[in-house]
Symmetry: C2
Subunit: 441 residues, 2 copies
């Protein structure tokens, strides 16, 4: 067994081996755990929160009053905390509400089924109960396949089957079926409430904010790529110190399921801070989709980073200059859009935001339209031509992202800023005066 000391790299990648290596390098493990915790301190906070909530509920169990009131079923409260407590408020609240609603509904139905079955005498009762359990389990399981149900109510439907079976089957042995259903509901409410309260009160992680930040960061990353692209593509000497340029867009390419999951959970969250209850989460998915479309095109660009494109003549140089300009302006526009969204400020109207990049796109088109390549071998023309084509598509997608971001700002009632032009004013400001200036060619 290799000591983990000798193995560098990301702590997360060795999650399970870490356990296997326990005896061989405790110090190294401690360091790795520390590293992993420091990477995102909320992981540590969350772990303490779970411990806190669970200990609180366990204390309920110790105290005679609760125990005497609920009997052994008080243990359901402990169980509920363990299964309901999630990292984000949205997930915890979603699970808690699902669990409570399902327990209430299925408990009632279970009591009904029990009564109906008990009318049919000692022989018929188990047969009827079994039939009910079979039918409810099959129907509810099938319902869980519907995508909308799966996205938001999957857990509730699972608990529905569970509680129904529990109440109706237990009822056969325990005539106090009402007491049982009631105790189960009460203890689950105690457990869910504890989990939700601890989750919200102690350093809450709002999944809606996470989604907001993820979408903004994705736009920002594409902007960063485009700002650095011109230099690195045409200049063999340039070196991007820090994050390799080709890495910026990679995580954007595959963020779809993550974003959808977050949007589903965010809808459970109450209003908090600058996010209202009816925050337009779906608009984030729209922006996310456009950002991903842009990332696919950026991925096509990234294949021109290595080897560098070598413009072959004066004509090629003109195209190159126009391409660099367009890449930079698109990058600036995206970064400005990201900045305004991050601060939740109403950006300028969409056409003002992309005025510079549109102008640069028009310029590139003009260069392409008015220039002729004389006796150039096609193989030398192809890279720069392909580059120009992709950049023009990126400029177009940037405009669509700007539209979507402005739509979000209006739907979410972002505050307008002093520097922003009011949407009613038709003429955009001169394109040159863009406030963002980080990086760039």
């Amino acid at each position: 067994m290799a000591a983990p000391v000798e193995e560098g790299g990301h702590a997360g990648k060795r999650g399970f081996d870490w356990i296997l290596d326990l005896p061989s390098g405790a110090a190294a493990i401690a360091m790795r755990v520390k590293e992993f915790g420091e990477e995102d301190p909320r992981r540590v906070i969350h772990s303490f929160k779970v411990g806190l909530a669970l200990t609180m509920v366990s204390l309920f169990y110790y105290f005679k009053p609760l125990y005497d009131g609920f009997g052994v079923n008080a243990i359901w409260a402990v169980l509920t905390v363990v299964v309901v407590f999630e990292f984000s408020v949205g997930a915890t609240l979603g699970k808690g509400l699902n669990r409570m609603a399902a327990t209430f509904g299925a408990g009632g139905l279970g009591i009904g089924a029990h009564h109906l079955a008990s009318l049919s005498g000692p022989t018929g009762e188990p047969i009827l109960i079994a039939a009910f359990v079979f039918i409810i389990a099959a129907v509810v399981t099938f319902t869980r396949f519907f995508p909308k149900v799966k996205a938001r109510y999957d857990y509730g439907f699972n608990i529905f089957i569970l509680t129904f079976s529990l109440v109706s089957v237990s009822g056969y042995r325990d005539s106090q079926v009402w007491t049982m259903a009631h105790e189960r509901l009460s203890t689950i409410m105690v457990g869910s409430s504890t989990a939700v309260i601890v989750c919200v009160v102690v350093y809450p992680v709002w999944i809606g904010e996470e989604l907001h930040n993820l979408v903004v960061t994705n736009i920002e990353n594409l902007g960063e790529f485009l700002l650095g692209f011109g230099d690195q593509c045409f200049n063999a000497e340039s070196n991007n110190n820090g994050k390799a340029l080709g890495e910026y867009h990679k995580s954007v390419l595959t963020s779809k399921s993550n974003e959808e999951n977050m949007a589903n959970l965010a809808r459970w969250e109450p209003g908090h801070g600058r996010f209202r209850l009816q925050h337009p989460w779906k608009q984030y998915l729209k922006i996310g989709t456009l950002t991903r479309e842009c990332a696919y095109k950026v991925d096509a660009l990234s294949s021109y980073l290595n080897p560098h494109v070598q413009p072959v003549d004066e004509m090629g140089n003109r195209v190159e200059v126009a391409c660099r300009e367009l890449s930079t302006e698109c990058g600036r526009a995206l970064k400005e859009l990201a900045l305004a969204t991050r601060k939740m400020k109403r950006p300028k109207p969409a056409d003002a935001m992309v005025a510079s990049s549109s102008a640069a796109a028009d310029n590139l088109k003009l260069v392409l339209d008015t220039s002729k390549w004389e006796r150039q071998r096609l193989v030398e023309v192809v890279p720069i031509a392909a580059l120009a084509a992709v950049l023009l598509e990126i400029a177009e997608t940037t405009e669509r992202i700007a539209d979507a971001v402005v739509e979000l700002a209006s739907k979410a009632h972002f505050k307008s800023t002093d520097s922003a032009v009011s949407p009613e004013q038709p003429s955009p400001p001169p394109a040159a005066a863009l406030p963002v200036s980080s990086g760039g060619a």
Copy 2:
């Protein structure tokens, strides 16, 4: 409330509304449910399987022997079936094994904690128990954040906290803590085994097979696109009847998390049919990643479908012919690779599989290399040049996919076919004799 009759479209999209609309159109709902079930009949079968397993375990509960042996804790078996039973064998087995192992480990630890705490007298006991619960909950919750743990053991670690709390906290009231831990383990084993047995015996859904088919279908879809692309891109009259060409690659773009999830679950599955226990599931992820890279490039191509590219002169026609040829040959190669993988047959050596597409790529390069555009406006050159550049990249990615597929065939010991050339033979057969002929330019 609108009657669902008037609303066409996909049943899945209206999952929850379906419930709200219950009273208003029972016939329409029945039809929609039928449609949804027919879309994938395994959904219906799965629902019946859950009902069956749950009823079986409930019957255990009715029978005196089991009830007398386990007491009220027999209800844990029912509960286990509900939470462990999943759609695929891999998911069910993974959850079942996680649940059993965690219950065993945490039960033992809980008994130890209970004994240790009881030594400290009636005042110290609840304090010590609370401290143990807090520590275990915090440490295990933190461990769950490690990606490798999260991917395969998340459920087990959750159950670990649950069982530990249950045993140690219950122990405070119930001196028969050994009995309780033992009963919990036994009932959970009964429940898990029932779920796993029903899941495997009645029309099993193997998630490994699903992954295999998904990866193959993705390659096939890209092949289908490339086969149809030449016609539709350069020929304004052509019409693809059936699936719109631009849709083929869309699902490939976002399949990453799905594939990773499936690969994690597939590793729980025992050998079955042509899949052995140590089937190289990771190789599917590698192929999936390459397929997605190819899909990004195909996405770039798809923007040339509308408006159609119009070659401007004789030179442009030469490039066009070479592009069509390359697209078709890449499409053929991908479809052949998909076909061999679907049948789990050892394909020809990688270079033989892509001989035609490599030749077509060389031809396109030659055309680009030997041709000059005379006095052509750049704007007319750009689309066809960009197209050629993307197609050359696709040809390269196709070769890498072929390598990965051949590697899979060797790792997974696919059988060699009569028509296939043995890998030892160095010279590939003439490229023209490709067996696949569906679609094409």
